[in-house]
Symmetry: C2
Subunit: 560 residues, 2 copies
Amino acid sequence: MNKQKYAIGLDFGTESGRALLVDVADGREVASAVHPYRDGVIDQVLPGADVELPQDFALQNPADYIEVLRVTIPTVLRKAGVDVQDVIGVGTDFTACTMLPVDRAGTPLCQKAEWRDNPHAWVKLWKHHAAQPEAHRLNEIARERGEGWLQRYGGKISSEWLFPKIWETLNKAPEVYHAADRYLEAADWIVLQMTGQERRNSCTAGYKALWHKREGYPDDEFFAALDPRLRDVVDAKLSRQIYSLGQRAGGLTPAMAELTGLRPGIAVSIGHLDAHISVPAATIVEPGRMVIIMGTSNCHMVLSTDEHLVPGMCGVVEDGIIPGLFGYEAGQSCVGDHFAWFVRNCAPAAYQEEARSRAINLHQLVEEKSARQQPGEHGLLALDWWNGNRSVLMDADLSGMLVGATLSTKAEDVYRALIEATAYGTRMIIDTFAKSSVAVNEIVACGGLPERNKLLMQIYADVTGREMRVSAAQQTAALGAAMFGAVAAGRAAGGYDSIVQAAPRMARLKDEVYRPITAHTAMYDQIYAEYARLHDYFGRDGNDVMKRLKALKTGAQPGA
Amino acid sequence: MNKQKYAIGLDFGTESGRALLVDVADGREVASAVHPYRDGVIDQVLPGADVELPQDFALQNPADYIEVLRVTIPTVLRKAGVDVQDVIGVGTDFTACTMLPVDRAGTPLCQKAEWRDNPHAWVKLWKHHAAQPEAHRLNEIARERGEGWLQRYGGKISSEWLFPKIWETLNKAPEVYHAADRYLEAADWIVLQMTGQERRNSCTAGYKALWHKREGYPDDEFFAALDPRLRDVVDAKLSRQIYSLGQRAGGLTPAMAELTGLRPGIAVSIGHLDAHISVPAATIVEPGRMVIIMGTSNCHMVLSTDEHLVPGMCGVVEDGIIPGLFGYEAGQSCVGDHFAWFVRNCAPAAYQEEARSRAINLHQLVEEKSARQQPGEHGLLALDWWNGNRSVLMDADLSGMLVGATLSTKAEDVYRALIEATAYGTRMIIDTFAKSSVAVNEIVACGGLPERNKLLMQIYADVTGREMRVSAAQQTAALGAAMFGAVAAGRAAGGYDSIVQAAPRMARLKDEVYRPITAHTAMYDQIYAEYARLHDYFGRDGNDVMKRLKALKTGAQPGA
């Protein structure tokens, strides 16, 4: 048996970056370190300048990403006390679409004196929402032209994605567009910095840039229909060369080795998206098992051997999650946010006092009271659209609804109804997948919520009629990145030849299983039928009252 | 000019009775006194016995009514310091249907030793709800037989009314039914006690006992269809002789004069219902002006020269409110109760602290925050059915609904939406009246809420597009009773010859007028259109989800 080997996963989030050093043999977490981005999310003023940003801007400084390497990798090496010779590979994951314009050498334009004062020269973070007009127009034109690829994205693409962001630059700062040698996802830029190799990854290309493994990008004619200047955007500003996940992007450059303390030449994997990389880290490399990342919102991912057009999904991408399979993504806009909203705005003063006297928090108290109830007992039903609906309706203008309230309704009743509503929303997604021949037999949850909220897990099991498991990893994305690092290193170097081989060794689930309780599922089946009916009534043109109320709300603003 | 004259109004409520002594010339309140019923609402155990009551029972002790006379009349005479010679008349009003079985002499059966232990021998209070099975069956049979009178009551009668309560006794305690010489409304029983005259009034007969001035009671055949033993119920246990409001029932008996300190022989008016007697006390004796008694629930009353069948109303009765006119009644089940529920269950702890630090109550704080908003600004819409819907749907199984919630929704948004929902419900009632040719041009509010809640009054004005005024009387029902006392006395004795003459002299409105603000009404017109659509969807068989959720709730109870 060889000596123990290690891999490092680098997880670039919204506010900070994290390094996780794991044992390649079993995925055990040996050390981790977090470094917050100095400039964080830039949404008011450009760093080092007095340029105020327009509304909906969310930028980042790429220098902060390099700082994460410089600070966190030496830290985990030191904390772990391992021989640097035994660190065989590095993998990365990133938020997306988080994109930037670079010059021929790969230097971000915002790091060049002549462009430093132009917001469009900086990294546009995933939640930069200023390209909404471009996204809207892009969707219109794609629909008018009957673009077939639109159906892979549920019929609508987001302002957060690559082409709206590029087009916004062309409209607002054409000089930046023209000065850019090309655009890169930050996921690919960090790999370029580490290896000197540009290796655009199939995950962000597929989920955020309309790329398809067999069909490539949309036609030049489509881009020309958006704007004649965009006709050659793919060839001029991107690349048609896309690399599948799990490959080795290259070896760590000597300069990066010096910066990080790692050996020059060790394997660095192709870039990846932070949500999607959690799938193998939650043990899933095969069809039929869904991952739900549960946090402020829910992100659902499942695999299939075939491509199906599933209505209302965020995307289906071949090689998008696991090489050789089609990865499907769906989402719910408001989950943890929902419960936080409720506890902040709707839990009565008497509960606050009770929680204080028992030295527990208000969430715990309300959950405890909710947990005493039987399914159906509170008589309430909610539509979980407090922040719009991502899947399967893809409509940000929908809003929350609650029905069944009486003078006996209590705070814990509403709280439980909100949890159940998010479970019904997940079941709607699962049922929609199933109707399109994408099976979901079991669910693995990861993220912050499943750890804290057992009631939520049991309700999801009961509502979906499926077993719920929880990923054992504390940092699922970083573990996934480390796993891909081990795969990039390959078996000969002490790693693995594929993510399918790595997953059963490096990823684990907790022992606890939430099994559907038959009587609960029978009750929830009946209530879910009511949910589905109201879902279609309010969400599918039965009654557009939610949109009209939103429009009236805008009109009613003082000064509007 | 004659010497000042006085009249006394006696208002028999649910928990207590009140005497109000007023100046006949201008209705000025000179003195008042309240006496709580010693036995209150009897819903657990019979007084002086260990007979436990079944669920939904609500009884009273008629001795408590006599005690009100004995205590309150001498008190107001003393407090007022008026010459008893100048007190010219007494009027009364009562809750209804509050009914009791009596012997030939008018003595309540419950005051006779042989019946004291039988709950059915006592006064069944208006909110005695144990006759629900009988009401249900009565409605079924009336519908099957196509009984025309059913439409005068919106197609459904309540378990609170006279015949279900009598039938319940026949089913549960036939010996009491047979022992009863007859049944009386408490409103008529108290008049019988005061005058020795049985003078059944047209208001309770019309609104609670299916009586019609021209058609009389339903046919004997109908009662026989309920139960053959009920065929002769009207002739055997009631009377077909009904007296119109405003008449003199008789003169005060010497025994009652001794008990109360009043002169024997002074005029006592026909009995009346507490809600309906508020109409002239709110200055209204003519068509076109609606009274809304606003409290825990809303009761709406309006007059017309003609009889129209208005869908979903509680009743239309000729001579039912003002002699010579048709009185229409409608209602909303949950108004003040709604706001109390909200503040108790949904106002967050931070608001409690803010209210405490400013030494105001939570209601005031939430109202203050709500009042800062423009109509439509919160983007919410509610259906005001937390306690079912009385008019115009007459369906107790409906429940509350809220739509339009987002993560920015605050407690004051929901609170304002609930106030608006009750205003939309009132507008639905007004619109339904208008469609049936019963005009409502102006609204007068009385009761506890209008005094305290200016925001509510302005919202009602804006939503209904009608001016809202507030009755000046603190005790509207008792004032109305005193007015009818002055009418019973007649002009020759220093009173009035009719309530139409009395009202402009004795009743007043506050100076404050709530006028609809054009921009607000324009916004509310749009939101009301949405309310009306959802009202029909959830309330008129578009989607019976509320009823199904209630049914599931019952099935989900632990142990069910």
